[in-house]
């Protein structure tokens, strides 16, 4: 039971990190997008992680035992930081003062997040592999 939970937990980690990657690559792709359908430049997106119970074992809840927690994306928020203003009067999206508002995306920050998500993803994959091996060993024991 614990081992099956462990796999569900690791799986939730994979999903959450994947969603974080999706937000990150969206930010990178739109780092220079000055106009959007909503008007104004692209606004950086980030995901909020929260720990959640993945176990549906009601018996455990009754015993009030701390179990392992999975993770999920609580929501996606727009970064409240203001757009980066660059003086470029010739640009089609320049305002009256000649400033263009570029997205509040810092490519360095996004790349760091990308790498961090990638290693977390790998770690969760490794965890699933190890949990699976423990289960397989247990099964082989009976043979």
């Amino acid at each position: 039971m614990s081992l099956l939970n462990a796999i569900s937990i690791s799986n939730s980690g994979l999903t959450a990190e994947r969603q974080r990657v999706e937000a990150t690559v969206s930010n990178l792709a739109n780092a220079r997008t000055t106009r959007t359908p909503q008007g104004g430049p692209y606004r950086r997106r980030s995901v909020i992680f929260e720990a959640v119970a993945v176990s549906d074992d009601f018996g455990r809840e009754l015993q009030n035992r701390i179990t392992g927690m999975g993770v999920r994306v609580k929501g996606t928020i727009e970064d409240p930081r203001p757009p980066q203003k660059v003086h470029d009067p010739g640009h089609p999206d320049a305002d009256e003062q000649g400033y263009v508002s570029f997205p509040n995306v810092n490519p360095v920050e996004e790349i760091v997040n990308l790498i961090s998500s990638a290693r977390a993803f790998e770690a969760n994959l490794t965890a699933i592999g190890l949990s699976r091996q423990l289960i397989e060993r247990s099964i082989e024991l009976g043979r």
């Binding site: 039971m1 614990s2 081992l3 939970n5 462990a6 796999i7 937990i9 690791s10 939730s12 980690g13 959450a16 990190e17 974080r20 909020i48 992680f49 929260e50 720990a51 035992r65 701390i66 179990t67 392992g68 927690m69 999975g70 993770v71 961090s116 998500s117 290693r119 977390a120 770690a123 969760n124 490794t126 965890a127 190890l130 949990s131 091996q133 423990l134 060993r137 247990s138 082989e140 024991l141």
Partner: protein, 135 residues
């Protein structure tokens, strides 16, 4: 009267160890899944020293009749998950170090393999005894 092959409870002990390690694997998986969750604190089984002690303890006495004395060695405490001490938190409150979790998982698996070996060699001895007994 239990035959000699059951006298030292290897199978029981192996099962306890495997159960504990499975629960630990779940907690370690939880830590890894939440490596980027703000405010999450690393958890692990408490009384790890007790776990180590459990592995080295002498075997408990087997009571096969009401007249037998009960063992002085108590049943192991319920090893409840606790927050791990001594880990530095990052600015978002998370203190998970994923290299620690991966290392612990690997050690976990090795211990698990050991317990499986104990159980397997005992089961093998049993099978041989059964087969020999048929002749």
């Amino acid at each position: 009267m239990k035959p000699e092959l059951f006298a030292d409870n290897v199978l029981e002990k192996a099962e306890r160890v495997m159960d504990l390690l499975s629960r630990r694997q779940e907690l370690l998986a939880s830590n890894l899944a939440n490596v980027d969750t703000p405010g999450y604190k690393t958890i692990d089984l408490g009384f790890r020293e007790a776990l180590e002690g459990e592995l080295q303890k002498p075997w408990p006495l087997v009571q096969t009749s009401p007249g037998h004395f009960s063992a002085a060695a108590p049943t192991p405490p319920e090893l409840e998950p606790v927050e791990v001490e001594g880990l530095v938190s990052r600015p978002d409150g998370n203190n998970v170090r994923f290299e620690r979790e991966l290392l612990q998982m690997t050690m976990n698996k090795l211990r698990f393999d050991m317990a499986v070996q104990w159980a397997q060699s005992r089961l093998k001895a049993l099978r041989i005894a059964i087969d020999e007994g048929r002749r």
